[in-house]
Structure formats: structure tokens, C-alpha cells
């Protein structure tokens, strides 16, 4: 038998001597793969959305009147930046709302300690367990309670988000990819916030409530992270707007 001449067009996996034409072709594929992946990483890595100016800030200590409904918020004294008064929406640690800690202090003057969350006019604070206290001597004067002001009935377009992630705890903290996380946060008691495409009194963020000013019902979960139109009464508490929605009516539409 004559020895076989090596076929230069045939690859045998266990033969370490790959024919040169095939080795050259395979090298070009390898270069294409590595180069292509590098280029795609640049394109896809840099093509994300603008998450906006949400900030998870340093620890702050605030004194004010605590309200537990519909979701905990703290009314603090007016200052130069907030001449109409300032209401800070409160979130809890992780994906658990602050209601459990806030409830015993409902309507009381307290000192709250937590991390600041800020996105535009959305003013929030993450208060962990034990973050509220009622010292015998308050560091500041008690805040005179102003009655909420009705701003009428509005129909607004936008997205229902969980306030904590939207405020800056996650970037991005909104959008469809974040829907399950937002639902988990809202079901855990974090405040639902409506990010509107329009503004009322200069703000596009609204704390959501039911028509009676209570927490939102479970029906809201299907609408979270989607473009929706909401109609309801808008109420101003200091610099914070609350949108009270008849969710049953909305579900019937």
C-alpha cells in the first residue's frame, strides 16, 4: 500500500497537525469572533438608557411630623429651598416599606435618621429599622401642620414605579425590565410613585394612593412599569403631591 497523502482540505479533530489552509481559515474565524465580540460589547455596553439624576446619598437626620398613610412621609419645617414646607417620602431598608417602623409614631414629632434619595423634585429618605426616635428634647421647633390642599382632578400620562428604586436606589429604577423588582418593592410596602410626562405645580412625581387616601390595591401590579393614563384627585401636602386614584374604575376601563 502506498502511504496516504494528507488531504489539505480535511480536518481531523484529534490530529494536531491541522492542514495549513484550514488552520488559516480557522484563525480568520477566531479573529472575527474576538473582534466581533469586542465591537458588539462597545455598541451594546454604551447603548443603554439615560438613568437620570437619581442619587442615593449620605446619611441625614431630619426632624418632623411623621405620617404613616398612605405611605410613610415626614413633614419637616419650611426652609429657604422649600418655602411651602417640605414632605419627605420615606422608604424602608431593602424591599420592605417603612410603615412597620413608622406606624407607632403616626402623627408624632420624631427624629428620623437615614440615607437621602433624590431625583428632581422627588425627595425621599431610606429609614432602616430603629431609624425613628422621639427624644425628650427635640432638636428643633415643632412643625405647624398645614392642611392638605386640593389641586383638583387631573388625568396624567406616565409610569407607575416604586419610589425607592426610582429615587436612586437603582439605576435604572424604572422601565419594563425592572417591573418585577418594582412590584416586589411595592408589595413589600415601598411607596408607589407615578412619574408623569407632564407636571402639576412644577413636579412630575406623585405619591399614589387609593381614592380614600389609603395604600394602592393589588390591582396596581399589572400596570406597574407600563405607559398608563391615570385620573384622580391631586392633593398637595407641603411640596409633595398625592394622586388619589379610583383603581376599581380604572380597572373597568
Amino acid at each position: 500500500m502506498m502511504p496516504e497523502a494528507k488531504d489539505q482540505s480535511f480536518f481531523v479533530g484529534f490530529d494536531n497537525n491541522v492542514p495549513r489552509p484550514l488552520a488559516g481559515f480557522a484563525l480568520r474565524i477566531a479573529a472575527l469572533l474576538i473582534g466581533g465580540f469586542a465591537m458588539l460589547a462597545l455598541v451594546l455596553g454604551g447603548g443603554g438608557e439615560d438613568t437620570g439624576p437619581g442619587i442615593y446619598g449620605d446619611e441625614i437626620i431630619m426632624q418632623g411630623e411623621l405620617h404613616a398613610k398612605p405611605y410613610p412621609f415626614l413633614r419637616v419645617a419650611a426652609d429657604r429651598d422649600h418655602p411651602a414646607g417640605r414632605a419627605i417620602l420615606l422608604a424602608g431598608d431593602g424591599k420592605v416599606g417603612a410603615e412597620g417602623d413608622a406606624k407607632p409614631f403616626d402623627g408624632q414629632q420624631v427624629v428620623a435618621r437615614g440615607a437621602a434619595l433624590k431625583r428632581g423634585t422627588l425627595d425621599m429618605m431610606v429609614v432602616g429599622s430603629g431609624g425613628f426616635s422621639m427624644p425628650a428634647k427635640l432638636p428643633g421647633a415643632a412643625v405647624p401642620a398645614q392642611a392638605p390642599v386640593s389641586r383638583g382632578t387631573w388625568r396624567l400620562s406616565g409610569e407607575i414605579c416604586d419610589g425607592k428604586c426610582l429615587g436612586g436606589a437603582m439605576r435604572p429604577g424604572s422601565g419594563l425590565a425592572h417591573k418585577a423588582c418594582a412590584n416586589l418593592c411595592i408589595s413589600g410596602g415601598q411607596p408607589p410613585v407615578f412619574a408623569s410626562t407632564g407636571t402639576v405645580d412644577g413636579t412630575s412625581f406623585f405619591l399614589l394612593a387609593d381614592k380614600n387616601g389609603g395604600p394602592v390595591p393589588d390591582a396596581v401590579y399589572d400596570l406597574v412599569a407600563l405607559p398608563v393614563d391615570l385620573e384622580g384627585d391631586v392633593e398637595r401636602v407641603d411640596n409633595m403631591l398625592i394622586l388619589k386614584v379610583d383603581w376599581a374604575k380604572l380597572a373597568r376601563r
Binding site: M1, M2, E4, A5, D7, S9, F10, F11, V12, G13, F14, D15, N16, V18, P21, L22, F25, A26, I29, A30, L33, I34, F37, A38, L40, A41, L42, V43, L44, G45, G46, G47, G48, E49, D50, T51, G52, D93, G94, K95, V96, M170, R171, P172, G175, L176, A177, H178, K179, A180, C181, N183, L184, S187, G188, Y221, D222, L223, A225, L226
Partner: protein, 353 residues
Amino acid sequence: MSATYRPVSWNHNKIVYDAILLIAVAVYLWIFIQVSPALHPTAAQIDGDILRMRAYGSCAFLMLSFILCIGPLARLDPRWLPVLYNRRHFGVLTCAVALMHAWYVLGWYFAFSPVDPFVALLSSNTSFARIAGFPFELFGILALAILLVLAATSHDFWLSFLTPPVWKAMHMSLYAGYTAIVLHLALGPLMAQANAALAIVVAFSVVSVAGLHLAAAVQGAAQDRDVAQAAASSPWISAGLISDLTEGRGRVVRVKGGESIAVFRHGGRISALANACAHQNGPLGEGRIVEGCVTCPWHGFQYRPEDGCAPPPFTEKLATYRVRLEDGHVLVDPRANPPGTYVEPVVIAGDAR
């Protein structure tokens, strides 16, 4: 080819193959996670965990798209066969990258809650009646489950244990996995319209995978129509002219009813055996004679042309066929002999080597 089961039968080609894969994946992740935020202000704002879940997720999608293109590319151009050779390692690495994506998703979107992350994953979005807002994570779970099963069974032990037809059918579920990933993307990040580049890349990938499969299918259908003609004496069929059969090479002869026979010219003689390799049904007729054996173009499994047996210590056996020569034509009896049956090769007059 291996007579015993080892986790990986390493050789030089596999090491080079895996090194190239690892470099491509490492370069992709490094650029996505480290370089892009330095170049793009918007990427710099994104949480590190979200950036990582996006990097691993998109990398797994691209890897799987590439894997699915290799098969049809190798059918259309045999120079791609070296890329097919170690495709299993490509698949297993893809599964590992997809697992990392799931790890970051669970550890970020579904963590920090009293609800168990796995329970939260399945229960926090139940908008099943809607397209926009549908829990797209479910498609990701389905795809990952398929990838895990395929990666776990991506070994010759399982191929032998399950038998090649069952194993092959099971691994065809990769297409269901790919469809699930595309739906996962379409109902999640693509519907969020957050990244136009991602939409373009996904569309291009899907069209490439579908287009290449279509082209390979068209070519395959044309070959399947080329059924061997019956010879004058039944049941023999014509396998073409002897002069058209190149030494050391084979020819695929298609028989009515779907069977294929590989006819080889080797050392001035002609033999015929089943065309489907016992390993993964690779087309032996497109292989070569290497070291006196018919060698599969896919993974190099070898068989003696005269009896269809893999050389010792290997034990695979294929059906053989009777061959005769008549008026310059090769004729084959399409009735298969039992696997491993010795059939005396037909000597080509004046070409005995």
C-alpha cells in the same frame, strides 16, 4: 474518539478552541463592564450589577446565536468543520455565562426582600394576560433550564446511554431554548425600548440564524432529491462512475426511502457502509480515508471500510453494503448487512495499490 469516558478528552485543537472562546468572552465582558462606562456617560450611571447582568445576558445570546450558525455554515462550507468539532465546549461555556446572568438578576432585582429570591422571581409579576408587561423572566428561566440540561448531557457518556437518536432529538431543544431567549429579550429589554442597538443586534442575529438554516435546508433538499437510479439488475442501484470517485474520498448515495450509503474508494478498492456516523449521525460520505479508515468529518470517528467496525479498542459498528462494478459504474445493493458484516472490497482493475 475515546474508548473510555473521561470528563474531557483534551487535545491540542480543543485547547486552542477553548482558549479562543475564553478570550472572546473575556474581551466582551471586559469591554462591556469596564470600558463602556468609561466611554459613555449613560453607561457610567447604570448600577454595576445591572451592567453585569446585561453584559452576561447579551453575551450568552450572542454566543448561542453563533453556535446555531455553525451547523448550517459547516453544511454550506466544509471549512467551518473545525469550528463544529468542539461546539460542545462552546455550548457549555454559553450555559455558564447565562448562569452568571441569572445570578446577577436574582442577586439584584429579586434580593433585599423577605421573599425568597426564587419565589419572588416566579411570583412578583403575574401579568400573564398582557403582552406588554408579561413576566418575560419565565422565558429566561425556560431557556436556562434547557441550556443546563443540554450542558449536563453534553458528553459522550450521555450520548451512548441515551442512544444517538434520542440524544440528538433532545439536543434539538436548543432551538426551543433560543426561541425562549428571543422572547425573553423581545418582551423585556426590547419592549422597554431602552437600547436601539440591542434591537438591531437581536434582529440581525435572528435573521442570520434563520437565513443560514434556510440556505442549508435548501441545499440539503436539493441533495435529497438526487436519489440513486436503479441499475438494470434489481435490487442494485447506481452509485455513479468509478472514474468520478476520487481515491481516499467518498460519495453519498441516497436511496429511495431516505437511507444514505457512503461509498468509498480506498487503496484502489471500493467499499460501502452506512452514511450516518454512529456518534452523532455525521455524514461519513463527506469524510475521508485516514489511516485506512473512513473518518467522519464532524468529530473524527473512524470505521474500517470493509466491515464498518471502528478499529480496536473502539466498539462502534455500522451496516455495510455489497458493491460490484459494471461497465465503469459502481453498483450498490441497498439492502443493508447487519452492522459489522465483512464485505470484500471490490478491486478496481488496474488500480490496486
